[in-house]
Symmetry: C6
Subunit: 230 residues, 6 copies
Amino acid sequence: MIKERVKTGITGLDELIEGGLIPRSLNLLTGTAGTGKTLMSSQFIYNGLKDYDQSAVYVSFEEPIEAIKENRLSFGWDFTPYEKKEKVVFVRYDPFHVEDIYELIETNVKKLGAERVVIDSVSALGLYVRDTPEIRRMIFNVAFLLRKLSCTTLLISEILPMQESLSRFGVEEFVSDGVIVLYYNKVGSQFSRSLTVWKMRNSDHSNKIHPYKITSKGITVYSKEEAYVK
Amino acid sequence: MIKERVKTGITGLDELIEGGLIPRSLNLLTGTAGTGKTLMSSQFIYNGLKDYDQSAVYVSFEEPIEAIKENRLSFGWDFTPYEKKEKVVFVRYDPFHVEDIYELIETNVKKLGAERVVIDSVSALGLYVRDTPEIRRMIFNVAFLLRKLSCTTLLISEILPMQESLSRFGVEEFVSDGVIVLYYNKVGSQFSRSLTVWKMRNSDHSNKIHPYKITSKGITVYSKEEAYVK
Amino acid sequence: MIKERVKTGITGLDELIEGGLIPRSLNLLTGTAGTGKTLMSSQFIYNGLKDYDQSAVYVSFEEPIEAIKENRLSFGWDFTPYEKKEKVVFVRYDPFHVEDIYELIETNVKKLGAERVVIDSVSALGLYVRDTPEIRRMIFNVAFLLRKLSCTTLLISEILPMQESLSRFGVEEFVSDGVIVLYYNKVGSQFSRSLTVWKMRNSDHSNKIHPYKITSKGITVYSKEEAYVK
Amino acid sequence: MIKERVKTGITGLDELIEGGLIPRSLNLLTGTAGTGKTLMSSQFIYNGLKDYDQSAVYVSFEEPIEAIKENRLSFGWDFTPYEKKEKVVFVRYDPFHVEDIYELIETNVKKLGAERVVIDSVSALGLYVRDTPEIRRMIFNVAFLLRKLSCTTLLISEILPMQESLSRFGVEEFVSDGVIVLYYNKVGSQFSRSLTVWKMRNSDHSNKIHPYKITSKGITVYSKEEAYVK
Amino acid sequence: MIKERVKTGITGLDELIEGGLIPRSLNLLTGTAGTGKTLMSSQFIYNGLKDYDQSAVYVSFEEPIEAIKENRLSFGWDFTPYEKKEKVVFVRYDPFHVEDIYELIETNVKKLGAERVVIDSVSALGLYVRDTPEIRRMIFNVAFLLRKLSCTTLLISEILPMQESLSRFGVEEFVSDGVIVLYYNKVGSQFSRSLTVWKMRNSDHSNKIHPYKITSKGITVYSKEEAYVK
Amino acid sequence: MIKERVKTGITGLDELIEGGLIPRSLNLLTGTAGTGKTLMSSQFIYNGLKDYDQSAVYVSFEEPIEAIKENRLSFGWDFTPYEKKEKVVFVRYDPFHVEDIYELIETNVKKLGAERVVIDSVSALGLYVRDTPEIRRMIFNVAFLLRKLSCTTLLISEILPMQESLSRFGVEEFVSDGVIVLYYNKVGSQFSRSLTVWKMRNSDHSNKIHPYKITSKGITVYSKEEAYVK
């Protein structure tokens, strides 16, 4: 299997996937609202900047960029110095002009020589488009572009509660090399968080469901514990 | 995490969300008919006027405005003095001319310098529109406008019984920073009320299900008790 | 809460809702075929005529009017004297010309000074219309008109067996102040009847499920007993 | 309640409905393929001819008419003498020219002075029509015509296995005064037959589920026994 | 009931249906992929040729004709001599020119004086057609033609796994006199085969679920054993 | 049954199907993302090259061809020497020009005299096409072509999690002689892999569910063990 790995630096996660993500792979990060997909993604970017000197592009549709950066400060993650050094850029795209997204990604990745990319979210690409095949075509093209650019990418997918599928449009997992599923599940009278590595092409990976927590240091995955999901 | 908070003043609720809502956040209040979403929202507005000197705009589609104001008197909440001082305004929008809603919100918020806004309901925005992407576009634009206006907002979403999703159009939770779910659930031969804070971006929050009651003083959440939902 | 009430006079029902319906409210009476919605509604009308001197309009699409009146005689309810005194009128509308219903309602309510109205059924309004937003628009307009006319109204909604929703078009409970749900449920090898008050805006109400029976004196609700529904 | 009854003459069935069907009522006979709806209907017709001197019209879309008549001989029911005396007529309609059905029914009912009518089946009316509101309109019109003609009618509705609804188009039970449901249900490793009277307007009726059998004498309902259905 | 029977000659099956199929009846043979519908149908044809001197037409869309014939040799069924004597013909139809199927059937049935017909499959008729009413019309017409030609027919219907209905288009069981359902069901860690006679117009039939096996002699039904299906 | 077999060479798999696949048959390999369909298919191809001297064509839409070849090296499978000898070719097709696929397949199969073919995946053929009958037509034509070319083929079908069907478009199993289903199933707090041979036309086959593992030597099926699937 593949030795070289792109470490997420997220406690417990790299242990589940033989040390990190496959270089230049597309990885779907899928879960309902409130599972911490944005948090995990910015942690992946921040760790890359701080510990591995990897430039990054964060493409956001949902949360305002200032909000993301500001809020990450409370975890002790300050993106501003890296922005100044042109090591990271947060770009926001207009969901009504998604046709511009290819150029947006390509320009920024090339400019920074980015090795890590986050698309937050791939689901939003299609929310305002009427035609499912059209949406799938866009997702396919984004995936194609990101492979061409040799980035290690997290594609965020927001699914609906109780939806059993891995994605909104049924094509996201098709174009991805890896799929990580985040659960927010009711057990008795409370909800708890857990995740599983559903798929990791050309790699061994845990096939268990592991609990994770959101702490003051970001996301921590308990790679040695198991969680039960209905 | 974020220290400054917008207190709802609803007994028990603020304790679940580190003291209150995030300033300038959009919060989805979702539940079926009869869960008390309108009551909770007007309580949020009234407490803001009375205890925090925060002006407010209440945008209603469902219940006639006179009815809302009159009925709140029985809880001891008299909005009339605040209306006279131009601290609060209740506006009703015509569901067949939803295109006017942007101006309606912007004008009123600016006029009063409103810090609290209620949209009752975001679901009604789309009930008479044929085209789902069109509805989502409207919801997205309303959310965008409210962020721009720096209001702390409750977006009411009325879902159907037994529907497992968080919203009618699958986009409301996307554009929201927080999601509070109200349950009206059959246990044996009777129904009972409970709620959970599903999501609260950039904030810790309870992940339990808590019972709440409608009393002569409004809604009371039992933040130390837990409820079971099927 | 609101003191003044419009008594249904149906044994056991008024006790569940603090003495009666809210004056000038719209109340959805929802259930499958065979639950006795028409019977309960005509009992509401008859009691109003006999005991509270309240004029009434009964708008029917389903059962022929002569049949309704004739069949009620077996319960000892004779509408004819009240018809002669112009205290009650039964009107039948043509489901293929539902656009006339607004005038039909307004004219009759004004002519009689009616305080009680039954629409039997709001579901039938839309059965022959192709376009769901169009149907919802009609239901919204009927509700708007009835509020304007200050009537206390029962809107009958016929739902399909095993359908978990409260109405056919998902908007009826939106425009209603109250919702009463009638169950016809299989327990072991037989079916039994029960009801719950799902919602009653600005009012306390029982949140239990109560059995009811159809007897020679009409519907009797067992307000002190509880029933179990799957 | 109503004293005069139209006896079906089917063993056990009349006992469940206070002695028989309501005169001039529309009754939906609903069940999946293989429950014996055609058999029960022809038994209703035959008993009317033999024991109550009531003329009848049987409108068939499904089984060829010669087949129906011939096959009933094995139960000892010979329709030929009644056909010759113009007491009964079996008519077949072309599912692709359903617009002719109104005239077909009216002409034949008037010619024979028919008091009993079977429509086998109302579901077939709509199988080849594209437009659901159009189908419902047709069913409504057939029901309206049959009421006008003062016939006691069985409308056969064939539903799909595991379908929980009472009819194919969701309007058949709306226009009917009575609904009888036939079950063909798997219990362990075998299927068994049972029925329930779901609704019988202006009449008491059993609300239990009763087993029935197909014997050499036709259908026999066990009115004193109960059956369990999943 | 009907004495004359068309024996299938399949071990155990005729015993379930009073000795065989009803002459000139249409029988739906329904089940998922892999249940052995094609095998059972060719066994029906072969037995007719060998033991009852009944000519046959086998209309195939799915498996190539040469493959069917060749593969049946391993069961000891050699169709070639019968083909030479013009007692049987296997015809393949082009799913994109289904409009030719009427002539294809009629010509061949008349030429051979065929008494047994297999349509493998009626589902395939509609797979490439866009319009459900159009498909149903075709199925209805095929059924009508086969009745006119006085053939005893097996109509094969391939349904999807876990689909609870009896057919793909919801009309096949409507036009059929008999319905035989083949199950391929998971019990614990393995799948097993069983069948039930769901409906057999004008005939008694077993209402149990019976196991069957595919052996070197074809299909064997265990008419005295019972099987359990989830 | 058929003696001659095309051995997959996958440990444990051939034992389930009387020694191998039927020569010149179409076999559907169906499962969700992450079940190892691509791995199993390339193992089938590699074993054919190495042990049976059978040329092969691998048609890929999903994973880039260089990636497939490179990644297989870690299992000790080196395709390069075979490519040089023109014994194998990996071709990638453009999902937006699927109309070219017929020529692509035919040309390559003929050029190499290929006996083994993999289509990875047949699902991708239709993801970007709007019209279901159009997709089915394409799948039918691909199947027809592959039969004509006398290849033993694996058609990969990627289904959605929790989807109970065997394929995306409901026609793939129709045109296939064999169906192998790969499960990725949650048991308690972890996922495990198992497979079943659902259908194998003209062949005996195991009807059990067997566990399989992905090891450093490729896929190993435990033909003597059984697995439980919900």
